[in-house]
Symmetry: none
């Protein structure tokens, strides 16, 4: 139990001097932490020895030990909303509140995304990627960044990846695919026109389509051979695509880590690519 709570509870039963000291600490623990026993005595109008005796009565070896206890209580109280807060962030929120809600939203979409994809579906996707001749990644806007991030990881594993910012080039890439190839199509809404175009073309050519979309029915989902899902929480962290991007990253990170166990020699590839990059860093 927090020492501050204890002080409050015992306030009644205390002697005069002790009560004054306790009250001061309850009112402004932060300030008390900056004071020496003598300074605290001066601030409360009692004597320095009373402060020390006060600390000892509470069961601490001395004032220092007591101060550590208050410090600890204060530290824990700071993050008292134990667990993660999750709610809409609005303009009146305090700094700490905003951070907690942001982390809460991110955590929630990561957890739900992890839960929304069965091990079987993930396995199917991994199998397709590992067996593919080439993997084409498709994403626009924020999803294009996730696609790129994933492409770096796949390259580290020695896979052949197609990805381009220019959607025209992407479309012509797609039309050159065969049934030995895989398309990973990222679109949280499942309605991005460019991505749909690419998926349609690739499907006509016989390639396997892995869709990464939200849960709601959507055109991209309808085209997919293997469908993975991202769960976002858009209306909480308002006005931005933060959580859907986090969900996509969660999913692609999962795929990457699980691929590490499947791709023969994965660790060697990674070693090499890291050495290559290190050369550029001093």
């Amino acid at each position: 139990m927090s020492i501050l709570k204890i002080l409050g509870a015992q306030l009644e039963a205390m002697t005069q001097a002790d009560r004054q000291i306790a009250q001061f600490i309850i009112d402004d623990p932060e300030r008390m932490l900056a004071l020496s026993s003598a300074a605290l005595a001066a601030a409360t109008g009692r004597s320095q020895s009373s402060v020390v005796k006060f600390s000892q009565k509470l069961g601490y070896a001395g004032y220092q030990q007591f101060k550590l206890a208050v410090n600890k209580a204060k530290a824990l109280e700071w993050q008292a909303p134990a667990g993660v807060i999750h709610g809409t962030i609005d303009a009146s929120d305090s700094y700490v509140n905003i951070l907690q809600k942001l982390i809460g939203s991110k955590l929630l979409s990561m957890r739900e995304t992890a839960a929304a994809n069965s091990e079987d579906m993930i396995d199917a996707a991994l199998g397709a990627i590992v067996g593919a001749r080439k993997t084409l990644l498709a994403g626009v806007g924020a999803s294009s960044l996730v696609a790129k991030d994933f492409s770096y990881k796949l390259l580290k594993l020695g896979r052949t990846v197609l990805l381009d910012n220019d959607s025209h080039i992407q479309i012509s890439n797609a039309s050159a695919l065969t049934k030995a190839d895989v398309v990973v199509a990222l679109s949280h809404s499942g309605r991005s026109l460019e991505i749909l175009r690419i998926a349609e073309l690739a499907k006509k050519r016989g390639a396997t389509i892995i869709s990464i979309t939200g849960l709601q029915p959507n055109p991209l989902l309808a085209l997919a051979d293997i469908s993975l899902h991202t769960i976002a929480d858009e209306d909480r962290v308002r006005s931005s695509a933060i959580t859907s991007r986090d969900a996509q990253l969660m999913l692609t990170d999962m795929l990457f880590i699980l691929l590490l166990r499947r791709v023969p020699g994965a660790h060697d590839f990674i070693q090499h690519s890291e050495t290559a990059v290190t050369v550029l860093k001093m």
Copy 2:
């Protein structure tokens, strides 16, 4: 931010005496809390004055203040993120285990990144960005994706942003900056040559440099006017830049959300840019 993490991060860069003292504290913070400066000196085989100087080098008024910081760090460490496992992912882990560890690592680096940046520093960064004529974002590799993500968000807020994949163009952009401009330089190691080059140039031109790096001392940090920090956890989710990227995103998301409250008319800008994008989705 946890002082214990800071100690760990800076251990390498410390002098002999300091390193010994730091190591002792890292190994057994509880014990350290029971010791006086002289006792800690005896326990580590250094002098009492070294202990005090050590505390002061870290930015505390003295040993007592430092002790309070360690006490606080220890108290907060106790927070068990209920249900979240955090550990090294290895090949023998089960599917569910891997997911839990992945989420745990991500959550940890988000939390620690949130904690590592004081409200004051964040405020300083926000002020610089809001007041800037132009904002140049710099990042290579995985950081370039974060930079791009952040640039989309800043554009939504109607800010003028410079960002290009080609480092030559970035460098010429940097040399055209003035002291009315701001550079946000992203590099977890703080040692990417291109980014250093850009930051140096921009600094010569008088622009304000905001660095986003890890905690360990690094060249980019030394150049920065305002320094923000990312905490990653590389050795847990092995062989990838997953958590450092997450930490960077956490930080840029924080900045974005806090900017929403600062930039006049932010919500209008966002409304408009979302309407514009919706047109492309069906």
